[in-house]
């Protein structure tokens, strides 16, 4: 039964992949990439990797679809028919694929308990988490505590991406908040968006602060937080969204998240521990770990949300009409 679900999901992934290659309409391809991500998220759920599934659903199926749509709106809707023959690329791709499949023959079997990945440090993490960290979600303890350096690196990468987009595209500020001409047409969407906006932000906070106990954490929460503002920008116009959360503030927030993360690390050093050692943050090690994880997850969430909004504003504000020209009407 389990294998049947796996095979069906992998088959659907393959079909979606072929459809993406065959399609010429970039809008359809964007939607298909979103569907691809959704199938991947389902596959992760089947594999019991709910944290990864939540990330994939939020980032892959959610926010990157919006960013891709913004890109398509900036460029062109149809892929150009290539003028050259595609035999050589096909050959390269086939050979690379064959080499990769040959490479997988040496890999451990699916679900093999003796695979190196299950025997290296993972057993220690799983066994020590209840005493050392005291959070039920081992993924959070690994990401935020045992592998705190890696996560700091990831957040810095995201921050760098935001800085890059800001440097290359910039965010064109809008002085006036112009009302779109077709105000009345969007009225249903506006009412529903207003209804959902606070709930989305609330859910983001839930995902952020519940990450110790269930699936979730800073990355997912940041993405969900940003999605709320993107929804607001799509329905109420970019000018209004920029009044709610000014782009200048976004730059500061993106840096503040990384700084909060590093500050927690340095605070650990000041209190006599190592960099990113949370045990010294409170009176007893376990509450120190809780406090440290909470603070760095908050930092991650702030940076991720700010960077995604910087990228979104950077893309969309390049269009003369802004977000209003980008929505369906």
């Amino acid at each position: 039964m389990q294998h049947l679900v796996d095979i069906v999901l992998l088959g659907l992934l393959m079909i979606t992949g072929f459809a993406i290659v065959r399609m010429r309409s970039l809008l359809a391809v964007t939607m298909l990439t979103s569907i691809y991500s959704l199938f991947s998220a389902l596959l992760f759920v089947v594999l019991d990797a709910v944290d990864v599934a939540l990330t994939e659903a939020a980032i892959g199926a959610g926010i990157s679809t919006i960013l891709l749509l913004a890109t398509v709106a900036l460029t062109t809707e149809y892929e150009k028919v290539p003028s050259h023959r595609s035999l050589l690329p096909l050959l390269v791709v086939t050979l690379t694929g064959a080499a990769l499949i040959y490479g997988t023959l040496d890999m451990p079997h699916y679900g093999d308990p003796n695979a190196p990945v299950h025997r290296h440090v993972a057993p220690d993490y799983i066994e020590d988490t209840p005493e050392e960290i005291g959070v039920p979600n081992v993924v959070t303890s690994v990401l935020a505590s045992y592998r705190g350096y890696d996560t700091l690196g990831e957040v810095t990468v995201i921050f760098t991406a935001g800085v890059g987009v800001l440097a290359l595209l910039g965010v064109h500020l809008r002085k006036r908040t112009e009302q779109p001409s077709d105000y009345h047409k969007l009225v249903v969407l506006r009412v529903i968006a207003k209804l959902f906006f606070p709930l989305i932000l609330l859910f983001a906070l839930y995902v952020l602060f519940h990450g110790d106990y269930g699936p979730g954490g800073g990355f997912q929460a940041g993405v969900i937080f940003a999605t709320g503002f993107v929804l607001y920008a799509l329905t109420h116009g970019l000018g209004n969204a920029e009044r709610v959360i000014p782009p200048a503030l976004l730059g500061i927030l993106a840096a503040a998240g990384v700084l909060l993360y590093s500050a927690v690390g340095i605070e650990g050093m000041l209190l006599g521990g190592k960099f990113l050692e949370y045990n010294v943050l409170a009176d007893d090690p376990v509450s120190g770990q809780h406090l440290g994880i909470l603070l760095i997850e908050t930092g991650v969430g702030i940076t991720v949300a700010a960077v995604i909004l910087i990228i979104y504003f950077g893309f969309v504000s390049r269009r003369p009409g802004g977000a209003d020209a980008q929505d369906p009407s």
């Binding site: 047409k185 249903v188 969407l189 529903i192 209804l195 959902f196 369906p328 009407s329």
Partner: protein, 106 residues
Amino acid sequence: MLDILLDILSWILLLGGALFLLTGAIGVLRFPDFYSRLHAVSVCDTLGAGMVLLGLMLQGGLTLVTVKLMLIFYFMVFSGPTAVHALAEAAQVSGLDPVEDDREDG
């Protein structure tokens, strides 16, 4: 006794929801144009998913899971029709006309 009754009711809802979802899928494949397909999807999706969620709520009993399912239900009741409305609106604005009568084409 009550447990069995709830279980039966929940399975009726689950299977009924699945039936509606299947009907919607068939409608998408068989209906002639964009608007009628959208109609098939929107009606069946909201009802089918709602019934599945209700069935799952009965399975969950009085737990936190049921509260979460209720929130999802609340979300779907609003978001489903709104998404379909946005799609139909977008199609109409971009100039897609409904097919008046497909049977003339054979």
